[in-house]
Symmetry: C3
């Protein structure tokens, strides 16, 4: 692989729509408009099998870093294959319970299940499948120092194993 390469003193045009406060022109050298990266690994405490709202737990871990970004993206990456991250309703706990009910109906478990991979327990193979159904990563826009989700959106950790364990999430923030 031969790569062409190019260097430059970076100018950082910041283009946003009206909902953003206009950045003052005489502020154009400000640190706040320079591209920034932040990355950290956070640990979520053990949760019982099921879907759990973790927005505030994650926000608490990253809000200080987040506040430095006018515009950007937050990437959350769960380093596990038997749990998942998804964005869904943030208000009624029944929605989380019903989603867990759905996952258990759709993915066979126990003696009726056709799985070859059973050494780690009857809940392990179903957990892997659920992890790929919902995914292990999320990317959320950052706007004015906050995660720019909809009114009813929240971040869920879905624990698919019977035995609760702490789960690691690599958070990467990128923006200006």
């Amino acid at each position: 692989m031969q790569l062409s390469s190019l260097s430059s003193v970076a100018k950082v045009p910041f283009s946003v729509k009206a909902q953003f406060p206009t950045v003052k022109k005489n502020n154009s050298m400000a640190e706040s408009t320079a591209p920034k990266w932040a990355q950290k690994t956070i640990s979520l405490p053990p949760y019982r099998r099921g879907c759990h709202l973790v927005t505030s737990k994650i926000a608490k871990e990253i809000e200080q870093d987040l506040s430095g970004f006018k515009c950007g993206l937050a990437h959350l990456f769960l380093q596990h294959t038997s749990a998942s991250l998804t964005i869904n309703e943030n208000y009624d706990t029944d929605v989380r319970d019903d989603t867990e009910t759905f996952l258990n109906r759709i993915v066979p478990e126990g003696s009726s299940a056709p799985w070859k991979h059973t050494l780690e327990g009857p809940d392990d193979m179903p957990a892997h499948i659920k992890s790929s159904m919902f995914g292990c990563a999320l990317t959320v826009p950052i706007t004015n120092g906050k995660l720019n989700m909809g009114t009813w959106q929240g971040i869920w950790l879905c624990e698919h194993r019977d035995h609760p364990t702490s789960r690691r999430v690599v958070v990467t923030l990128n923006g200006i």
Copy 2:
């Protein structure tokens, strides 16, 4: 959280494979090679329940901004929990219809459904589940000012509620 910090005048090496036009070396200070961010919220019109091809609607809203990026990523974030964004076939409407058929078969609805969350109507809890199955966000590579999707790929908005409503998408562009 104690963060280490570092500042520098940014050099922006641009490394791409052969399919890109080689960027001229004497052009290395050009604005086009500096990191840029653009973010806007667009509104998709109300669609009936089902899967809909929205590539051209979204492209129209962002094509002017997009044209300024040689290389980058476009992030689309649907701010709702009862609809979803996915990438799939862009030609035969039957594929969208069949996908809607699948979703309705896989997620029980109505009197036979086991849901506790029913206050917002029989289509609401199924809509939440379908939203997590397909997801509410997409990231698409940008190459030479365009979304770099495959020949047969298109962006779908999947409306999972019976009552059509306008849907908001936060689009974040990042690249050089």
Copy 3:
């Protein structure tokens, strides 16, 4: 669309948690801390229908570029609508086989299937559905020149068609 715009000489604060080696302050002009983009399209060889571990194939194609990033994100984008990319268990081939079994049970195929889109063969419409279930794109954090996945995580290509074909993946790297 009226966009406000702003330019600046970029400062690049690099904020990371303790697990990163502290970047020396007198090294602050180093290329390694400047924002970089790299993008290339790689071809995966034809795989038979089913789930396949492709971490090492992808790593081999991008490891040289990857090694230049201290912190960033790697985006993988499959340019097809009848295959998918997912992250799951990297050790026991039974997990991949069982996941393929699950997908075939959940998505009807053949004479009992309700699909209208059948012209491209009985495996085509199921392939499209599976592609949206698992998705065609992944974003993985980069830390110290490597993909920062968990111990048991690997990248899977899931081929949903009967006839194996080569599959293109657009890889975009962004970071410092």
